[in-house]
Subunit: 360 residues, 2 copies
């Protein structure tokens, strides 16, 4: 898979599988922060030092291919247009932070986009492994293998007392952040979500919107991640998050069954109306699109809507983001109204195509 | 066409044509109030006197058939269930007043439902002639022919000084009420409707909702009718209403063009969303259904929506009324929630069928 494919296709290949509890947990993610020994952290390093790290990391590409047989691409951020960088953000392949500046920054990404390494973001290296569904262990195993391959070639800053050294003290220790992206429409509809956010926070977890820190929880999608790393082992962090995620899944599932039992007709009307608007609207804001898509996905999961497959939700989550739309539109810069029109058009087309394909 | 057909089919045959300005004027109607000479008005007559009038009128059925070759049905109201009577109201064949009580009341109706004579409503006879589109003259000609046929056989109360005598003094003189049913979504959307209602009222006309006096203007449908009759000739009344209706049509048409010119995209989004909700909702109240149907009809008239023909609007106006729904449902009495579900189901089915049939 070439870079063009990664940029053009809304659905990352690793997303297609579904995975355990894939009706509620869209993806599991492990991120490891790593820094080169004896080189200042990116925000204090000279340009030449950062460039040297980029050069060093180029050598790791073959190591990674030898590791798992996948193709890995090495991409200097300067070779990408700002638009292309933000498409990678919308596809959850890089962080908004990395997209902001291109100089001396690079990305290694696996052909299926399940593994990516950001170079010279807040830390020298940010290793990210993604897995479909609730599958933190596989993501952790994958991240550890990638980390081993990198540490086999490069000297990584590590203190016996503090663990991995990182630019921000909140990452000190394992340098690990584990997160799950969960779709919780029933907990939102039934008003239970706030209690859940409070409970998760008390357990040392953070609950955020779909694009991480500072983003809103549009489309009823939440990212739950560990906050603490210093003083905790990798396995402990992952198990803690896993056990909370399991409870969240169970609560969401109960809330869905309660909705079905108590107000099946109201729910059916609601999700079908959302589907009807998506099928025919001529203009859709990003926020409205996500809300309606969330309701449609709930309808699909509850077997109320059978006209389209569940994966259209994951696909349209990306396709309808502003930068992805701009990429589709080509040269001419889209105004907000044109963007809303294009978004509606793409959703209509996608639902129509999938209806025909999946039509029973 | 038997009574069963008149009750079961939502679209009266005379509606299918469209008629002049049929995109805005759904129908034109002439009603003549007539009373038998030397018999008290219905609210003061004895049962035996009313029964005698019903008997007398039975003889007019053949006269009417000889007049225009159409079949005419004679229906005693007591032979109909209350539900069937109210279906006739929803189809604009009889008035709510006639449906309320059945004793000594009857109806003569032409096989295409374009002509009906209510017997022993407020007056002994209420002759009604309907024509599609803006076509008051044809409706008046038709009503006069029917009136002549009746007056050829029966002695009708008439004073040289006051004209036709009627139970209510507002009908004295010609006994004529002329009305047009107009669909004015653009005047409503653009906020011009109130000015129009005020102007029409100053010209001695009444503007009401779809089911006459006291009914709300749901679905952007209005009935405009003359208020005054004493001291005015038939032709004068009809010409006065016609000229106002023409202006209303012109204003509505200008308002539609202005909407297209100023906010085509917003309008397209709005009418397609309405269509999407109608195509997929699982529950629709009568009022919401009419509002959405009105927007869809506007979309069809402005050639924004091309998936379904305009006549579905006229058809669904009747099909989605409570009594018609109850008739469709058969024996079991519908609760409000069931009715809303059945309404949504029928609308979905109708749009689906017409899409397939008319599909381009």
């Amino acid at each position: 898979m070439a870079l063009e494919n990664i940029l053009d296709q809304p659905l990352n290949p690793w997303m297609a599988g579904g995975g355990p509890d894939g009706d509620i947990v869209l993806s599991s993610r492990i991120r490891l922060a790593r820094n080169f020994e004896a080189v200042p952290f990116p925000n204090r390093a000279k340009g030449s030092q950062l460039a040297a790290i980029v050069d060093q990391m180029r050598k790791s590409v073959n190591d990674l291919t030898n590791l798992d047989g996948h193709r890995y691409l090495f991409i200097e951020m300067e070779k990408l247009s700002p638009l292309e960088r933000y498409v990678l953000v919308e596809k959850h392949i890089i962080s908004p932070n990395l997209a902001q500046e291109a100089e001396n920054r690079a990305l290694i990404v696996r052909d299926d986009a399940a593994v990516s390494i950001m170079i010279n973001e807040e830390d020298h290296l940010r290793i990210q492994c993604l897995a479909p569904g609730l599958n933190l262990n596989d993501a952790l195993k994958c991240a550890n293998k990638v980390d081993d391959a990198i540490e086999g070639r490069h000297d990584i800053a590590f203190s016996e007392q503090m663990g991995y050294l990182t630019a921000c003290p909140t990452n000190l220790g394992t340098g690990l952040r584990a997160s799950v992206m969960v779709h919780l429409p029933a907990l939102v509809l039934s008003g239970q979500i706030n209690r859940l956010v409070t409970a998760a926070t008390q357990l040392g977890l953070a609950v955020r919107g779909i694009y991480g820190e500072g983003s809103e929880a549009v489309g009823n999608i939440f990212q739950i991640s560990n906050q603490l790393t210093l003083g905790h082992g990798e396995q402990e962090i992952v198990e803690n998050l896993y056990s909370v995620a399991r409870q969240v899944v169970d609560h969401e599932r109960s809330a869905r069954q309660a909705l079905l039992a108590e107000s099946r007709d109201v729910l059916a009307d609601r999700v079908w109306r959302a589907y009807g608007v998506l099928r025919y609207a001529r203009s859709l804001s990003g926020q409205e699109a996500l809300s309606l898509l969330s309701e449609v996905r709930l309808g699909i999961d509850l077997k109320i809507i059978d006209e389209v497959p569940p994966v259209i939700f994951n696909e349209l989550l990306v396709t309808t983001r502003p930068n992805f739309l701009q990429k589709l539109a080509g040269q001419a810069e889209l105004g907000p109204a044109e963007r809303d029109r294009l978004r509606a058009q793409i959703i209509r087309q996608c639902l129509e195509d999938n209806k025909t394909r999946g039509g029973k």
